[in-house]
C-alpha cells in the first residue's frame, strides 16, 4: 500500500500516545496483517476509545433488560425506539457531554444538545422535547467550597445553561425538563447529560446500516475543519489533569442554525424514499459514521476524502477522518436516485456531495484523491475491538456509628427555620431562573413545562394531520449522593423516582434510557460501583416494566485522581392515553382533601442511619452518611399502578411524589404551584391573597418530627381530591394495596401549618416560604 514519504511512521510509542495499550496495538496489527499507517492508527484509536467502544462497560451492560413488547429498537442504534400507538413511535436517548463542558462550558453544552438531537432525527424522528440532567460543584461559599471555587462553579453553571438554551432555542425544540444538582464532587467535573425525544411514523424509522452494493455515499451538512480532532472521543476517555485546559481547542463549536437546516433537509430527503441509510457524525466524526454503517450493514465502503467539503486547506487524511466538526451527516442513497436527495439539500442551502459508495467485501477504503490512505476491515474494527472485564473490588466498608449520623432535634422544636433553609438550598429551590432561559413552549406541544408536573409532558400531534390524542411524559432522575453510599440501591431509586414522576403526571411508564456517569474504570472501586449500579438498574427496570432502550456510558469523570459520585441518570418515558387526564402538582381548590398515598415500603430499623443521607441532613447538619432509604420495588410498582389508574379515572385534582426534602417540601411545592397557576390565569394578585392556596396538615406517628417531615423514603405521593370523589379514590387505592392517609385539607389563605402529634412543628406563611424557594438561586447567581 502506498504511503506518502512525509507521513509519520507509526511506532509503539505513537500508538501509546493515541491511548492504545500494547495489547490493543498488537490486535490492530493482527486485524490489518501489517503495521498501520498514521491515519489507520488514528481511526483505530478513536474507534477503540472508551467513549466509542464501551470496552470497559460492555460486559456489564449486557445484563440490562432491553426487551419489551413496546420496544421497536433497543440499544445499538442512534436512539431507542418504542411504540406509542396509532402507528407512531417515540425515539429517545440520553447522552453525556461532561468533559467538553468542563473545558469550555458554553460550547460543551451546545454540542451536547446538538449531538443528541442529531441522534434523534437521524432515525427519521422529529425532535419534540429536550431534557437536561446537570450536576455542578457548589455555587455558594461554604465549608466545602471556598470563594474562588464557588465563583468558578457559577461560571461553569452559567455557561452550560446559556449553551443549552442557545442551541435548543435556535433549533426550535422546547427544553421542557430535567434536574440540577450541586455537590462538591462535581466541582472539577460537572455533568451535562442531555436527553432528546422525537416522534415518527413506525414505518418511516431509518437505521444506520449501509446496504446495496454500488449505492452512493453522500456527505451532507457543515464543512469539515480541524476543530474537535480527538474531541469527545479522547477527552472523555481519560481523566482530567492540570494540563486539560490546554485541550480547549479540542472542544467542538456548535451551530444550531446549521443543525435546524440539516433537520428539515434530512426529514424531507427521507420522504423522497431514496435514502437507504443515514448516520450522524458525532464523536469520531467521519471515522465512526463510515465504519459503523459498513459494519452494521455487513458491507464495505469506499470514500475519497478529496470530495469531502473542507473548511480549511491542507488537511491531512488523519485530520479529516478524526475531525469532530459538528452538524454533519453521512447517508447512503439508492443508486440512480441520488439527484433527488442532493436536490433537497441544495434547496436548504446545504453542502451535499457524493463522496463514495457501498462496496462488497467488508473493507472500508479511505482514499485521498485516488491514493489509498487507509484500508481497514470494517466489522473487526467496529465489533471486534477490545473488551475488558476489569477487576472490581468493593471499597472497605464504612465504619459508622450513631455519632456520625444525624441527631434529631428534641420533641417540640419549631422546625420552621430549618424548613425555610431547606427550601432555599440550591438542590430544592425553584429552577425558574434556569428554565426561563430555555424556550419551553415552541412547537405548541408543552402541556407541562418545568415544575408544573412531576414529569415534563408534551402532547403528540399526528405528523400528517396534526390530530392530538395522547401525550408523552418524561422524567430524568439520579441521586449521586445515594449512589456513593450504596450504588445498587441508589441506582434503583433513580429508576423508581423517574417512573414515579412519570406516573404522577398520569402517564404509564413504558421504557427508559440511561446515562452512566462514573470515575475511572481502571480503578477497582469504580468498576465495583459500576457493576453494582447495573445490578440495581436491572432489578428496578425489570420490576417496573421499563426496559432500557439506549443511552451512554461516561467514564473517567475525575480530576486529579478524585472521582465524582457514581451518578447513573435515568430517563423514563411514559404515555398518557388521553391528554385531558394529565396531572399537575398544583393544589386546585379550597376544601380538597389531601391524601398521602403510600405504597408502604419498608422503614429501616435505624431511622437516623437512613436519614443521614437526606437532603435535610446535608443542608441542616452538613452530614452525608448512612444509607439511602431502603427500597421496595413491589411497593413502588403498586404506587405507580395506583397513580396511573387514578389519573385515568380522572379522580385526582393534583399529584406530586415525595422525593428530595421529603413530605413537607412536596406539600409546600403543591401550594407554590397553585400560586403560580393562579397568577397565570390572570387572577388578581392584589386583594386578600386571592390566588393563594395553602395546606393545613395533621400528621401522626412514632418517629422524631424531623424524620416524619423530611425523610425521603420512596413509594409515596401527595394527591388532592375533591371530597365527592374521596370514597372512590380510597377504593381504588385499596385495590392496588396502597395505603391512603388523609393528612389534611387545601385551604385558602397564606398560613401553612403542619401539626405533628398535636404540636405545631411548622407554622409559616406561603408568601415568605415561597420567597425563599423561588428566588434563592437567582440571589446566589445574580446578586453579587
Amino acid at each position: 500500500m502506498a504511503t506518502a514519504a512525509t507521513e509519520i511512521k507509526v511506532t509503539p510509542e505513537i500508538a501509546a500516545e493515541h491511548g492504545l495499550s500494547a495489547e490493543e496495538y498488537a490486535r490492530v496489527k493482527q486485524i490489518l496483517g501489517r503495521e498501520p499507517n498514521i491515519t489507520e492508527l488514528g481511526i483505530f484509536s478513536v474507534m477503540w476509545s472508551e467513549h466509542c467502544s464501551y470496552k470497559s462497560s460492555k460486559v456489564h451492560l449486557k445484563r440490562l433488560p432491553t426487551r419489551g413488547k413496546l420496544v421497536v429498537q433497543g440499544p445499538g442504534e442512534n436512539a431507542g425506539v418504542v411504540d406509542i400507538g396509532d402507528g407512531l413511535v417515540a425515539a429517545f436517548k440520553i447522552e453525556s457531554h461532561n468533559h467538553p463542558s468542563y473545558v469550555e462550558p458554553f460550547q460543551g453544552a451546545t454540542t451536547g444538545v446538538g449531538g443528541i438531537l442529531r441522534d434523534i432525527f437521524t432515525m427519521g424522528a422529529r425532535p419534540i422535547a429536550v431534557l437536561d440532567s446537570l450536576r455542578f460543584g457548589e455555587i455558594t461559599e461554604n465549608k466545602n467550597t471556598n470563594k474562588e471555587e464557588a465563583a468558578k462553579n457559577r461560571r461553569i453553571f452559567d455557561g452550560v445553561i446559556r449553551g443549552i438554551g442557545n442551541y435548543g432555542n435556535c433549533f426550535g425544540v422546547p427544553t421542557v425538563g430535567g434536574e440540577v444538582g450541586f455537590e462538591p464532587c462535581y466541582s472539577q467535573n460537572p455533568l451535562v447529560n442531555a436527553l432528546a425525544l422525537g416522534i415518527a411514523r413506525k414505518e418511516e424509522i431509518f437505521l444506520a446500516k449501509a446496504k446495496g452494493i454500488g449505492n452512493p455515499v453522500i456527505y451532507v451538512g457543515a464543512k469539515t475543519g480541524r476543530d474537535g480532532i480527538h474531541g469527545a472521543s479522547l477527552l472523555a476517555s481519560a481523566e482530567f489533569t492540570e494540563e486539560s485546559k490546554q485541550k480547549r481547542p479540542n472542544v467542538q463549536v456548535g451551530d444550531p442554525f446549521m443543525e435546524k437546516l440539516l433537520l428539515e433537509a434530512c426529514l424531507e430527503a427521507m420522504q423522497t424514499g431514496a435514502v437507504v441509510a443515514i448516520q450522524d457524525m458525532g464523536a469520531a466524526g467521519l471515522t465512526c459514521s463510515t465504519m459503523e454503517m459498513a459494519s452494521r450493514g455487513g458491507t464495505g465502503i469506499e470514500i475519497d476524502l478529496a470530495k469531502v467539503p473542507q473548511r480549511e486547506t491542507g488537511m491531512t487524511p488523519y485530520e479529516i477522518m478524526l475531525s469532530e466538526s459538528q452538524e454533519r451527516m453521512l447517508l447512503v442513497a439508492e443508486k440512480g436516485r441520488e439527484h433527488e436527495v442532493l436536490g433537497v439539500f441544495k434547496k436548504w442551502g446545504l453542502d451535499a456531495t457524493v463522496v463514495g459508495q457501498v462496496t462488497e467485501g467488508g473493507i472500508a477504503r479511505i482514499k485521498d484523491n485516488g491514493r489509498v490512505a487507509a484500508e481497514i476491515p470494517a466489522h473487526p474494527l467496529a465489533e471486534e475491538g477490545p473488551v475488558y472485564n476489569r477487576p472490581l473490588a468493593a471499597p472497605a466498608p464504612r465504619v459508622e456509628s450513631e455519632k456520625d449520623w444525624f441527631a434529631f432535634a428534641p420533641e417540640g422544636t419549631n422546625l420552621a427555620q430549618n424548613f425555610m433553609k431547606l427550601l432555599a438550598s440550591p438542590a430544592i429551590a425553584s429552577k425558574r431562573w434556569i428554565t426561563e432561559q430555555y424556550d419551553t413552549s415552541v412547537r405548541t406541544n408543552t402541556l407541562a413545562g418545568p415544575g408544573a408536573s412531576d414529569a415534563a409532558v408534551v402532547r403528540i400531534k399526528d405528523p400528517k394531520t396534526g390530530e392530538v390524542k395522547r401525550a408523552l411524559a418524561l422524567s430524568t432522575d439520579g441521586n449521586g449522593r445515594w449512589c456513593q453510599l450504596n450504588p445498587r440501591v441508589g441506582a434503583m431509586h433513580a429508576v423508581a423516582e423517574a417512573a414515579r414522576n412519570v406516573a404522577a403526571s398520569g402517564a404509564r411508564p413504558i421504557a427508559a434510557t440511561n446515562c452512566l456517569n462514573f470515575g475511572s474504570p481502571e480503578k477497582r472501586e469504580v468498576m465495583w460501583q459500576f457493576s453494582q449500579a447495573i445490578d440495581g438498574l436491572t432489578e428496578a427496570c425489570t420490576a417496573l416494566g421499563t426496559p432500557i432502550t439506549g443511552g451512554n456510558v461516561s467514564f473517567y469523570n475525575e480530576t486529579l485522581g478524585k472521582s465524582i459520585y457514581p451518578t447513573p441518570v435515568i430517563g423514563v418515558l411514559g404515555v398518557i392515553e388521553d391528554v385531558s387526564r394529565l396531572l399537575k402538582i398544583a393544589f386546585r381548590e379550597e376544601g380538597d382533601v389531601i391524601l398521602l398515598l403510600d405504597g408502604a415500603g419498608p422503614t429501616s430499623g435505624e431511622a437516623a442511619r437512613e436519614f443521614s443521607s437526606s437532603e435535610y441532613s446535608k443542608t441542616i447538619a452538613g452530614i452525608v452518611a448512612g444509607d439511602p432509604p431502603a427500597i421496595d420495588l413491589a411497593a413502588e410498582k403498586h404506587l405507580i399502578d395506583c397513580l396511573v389508574a387514578l389519573a385515568s379515572e380522572g379522580a385526582l385534582q393534583s399529584a406530586h411524589d415525595v422525593s428530595d426534602g421529603g413530605l413537607t417540601v412536596t406539600l409546600a411545592e403543591s401550594c407554590f404551584a397553585s400560586v403560580v397557576a393562579g397568577l397565570q390565569t390572570g387572577a388578581s394578585s392584589s386583594g386578600a391573597n386571592a390566588a393563594h392556596l395553602s395546606a393545613n396538615i395533621k400528621l401522626s406517628g412514632d418517629a422524631p418530627a424531623e424524620h416524619a417531615l423530611f425523610n425521603e423514603r420512596g413509594a409515596r405521593a401527595v394527591v388532592s381530591v375533591t371530597p365527592s370523589k374521596l370514597a372512590a379514590v380510597l377504593h381504588t387505592a385499596r385495590q392496588y394495596s396502597v395505603a391512603a392517609h388523609q393528612i389534611g385539607q387545601v385551604i385558602r389563605g397564606d398560613a401553612f401549618r403542619i401539626q405533628y402529634k398535636g404540636n405545631a412543628v411548622i407554622d409559616g406563611s406561603i408568601e415568605s416560604l415561597r420567597d425563599a424557594w423561588a428566588y434563592s438561586l437567582e440571589r446566589a447567581l445574580v446578586a453579587r
Partner: protein, 236 residues
C-alpha cells in the same frame, strides 16, 4: 381567504402558526418558501418566529433580503395584511415596514415565560375582535425584544395610535412591572401608520388552546380572519 406563513431558513415557529390557523382556527393556510416571489394567492401573510439565518448578524437582518420579502413589501404597500411575530417583527423592522429597532433584553438573557399585554387599539386587522384594554396572556421567547426608537418616531407612533400592545401585569395595573425586557414605553407590539402591517414579540400562535396555558392569542388570529372577510365583502 388564505393565510400564508413564510418559511425562512431558521424559522422555527412556522409549524406552530400553520397549526394554529389550520387546526385551531380552521382557516386555509399554506407555507411560502423564502425564495418564492409568488404570494399572490394569499390574503394575509405571517412572518413567523425563529432564528432566521441563525440571527448571526442581527435579528432579522438577513431575512429581510430574502426574495420573498420583495413580494411581501409590495403586498404590504398595496394594503395587504402582514403580521410579524417575534423574529418576524424584527424582520419587519429591518425591512423598514415598521419603524424602530430591537435591542438585547435589558437582562441580557433569553427569556421564555407567559407575559400579559393590554390591547391598546382595536381599529386594526389584528385587534378588531378584541376589546380595548383587554389583557391577553401569551408566551414570549426571545433574547432581543427590547423595542426602541428615537423620540420623533415615538411621537409619531403615539400620534397615529400605532402602539397596539403594551406589556402589563395580569390585572393591568402596572405596565412597568409587567415589562419583561426593558422595551421602551412597555411596547409589545406596533402597527404601521396604514394599520395593515403589525409586529409583536409575544407569540399569539402559542396561546391558542387552554391546554397550552392560554387561548388568548387566538383573538389576534381571529381578528385577522374577520378583517379578511370584511375586506372581501367590501370588494364584492
Amino acid at each position: 381567504m388564505k393565510f400564508g406563513v413564510v418559511v425562512f431558513p431558521g424559522s422555527n415557529c412556522d409549524h406552530d402558526a400553520f397549526y394554529a390557523i389550520g387546526n385551531v382556527l380552521h382557516k386555509p393556510v399554506e407555507f411560502i418558501w423564502h425564495q418564492s416571489q409568488d404570494i399572490a394567492n394569499c390574503d394575509a401573510i405571517i412572518l413567523p418566529g425563529g432564528f432566521s439565518y441563525g440571527d448571526y448578524l442581527r435579528t432579522g437582518a438577513i431575512a429581510r433580503f430574502s426574495p420573498v420579502m420583495k413580494s411581501v413589501e409590495k403586498f404590504a404597500k398595496s394594503g395587504g395584511v402582514v403580521l410579524g411575530v417575534c423574529n418576524g417583527f424584527q424582520t419587519l423592522c429591518e425591512a423598514g415596514l415598521l419603524p424602530g429597532a430591537m435591542m438585547r433584553n435589558s437582562g441580557l438573557r433569553f427569556i421564555c415565560r407567559h407575559v400579559c399585554v393590554r390591547v391598546e387599539q382595536t381599529d386594526t386587522p389584528f385587534t378588531n375582535a378584541a376589546q380595548k384594554g383587554q389583557i391577553l396572556k401569551m408566551p414570549i421567547a426571545h433574547s432581543d425584544g427590547n423595542y426602541t426608537c428615537d423620540d420623533a418616531t415615538y411621537a409619531e407612533l403615539e400620534k397615529n395610535r400605532q402602539v397596539i400592545f403594551r406589556y402589563t401585569t395580569p390585572d393591568g395595573s402596572n405596565d412597568a412591572a409587567g415589562n419583561p425586557n426593558g422595551s421602551m414605553h412597555n411596547i409589545a407590539g406596533i402597527c404601521n401608520r396604514e394599520r395593515n402591517v403589525a409586529g409583536l414579540m409575544p407569540h399569539p400562535e402559542r396561546a391558542v388552546e387552554p391546554a397550552l396555558g392560554s387561548a388568548d392569542g387566538l383573538v389576534i388570529l381571529r381578528s385577522m380572519a374577520e378583517a379578511l372577510v370584511g375586506a372581501a365583502k367590501a370588494t364584492a
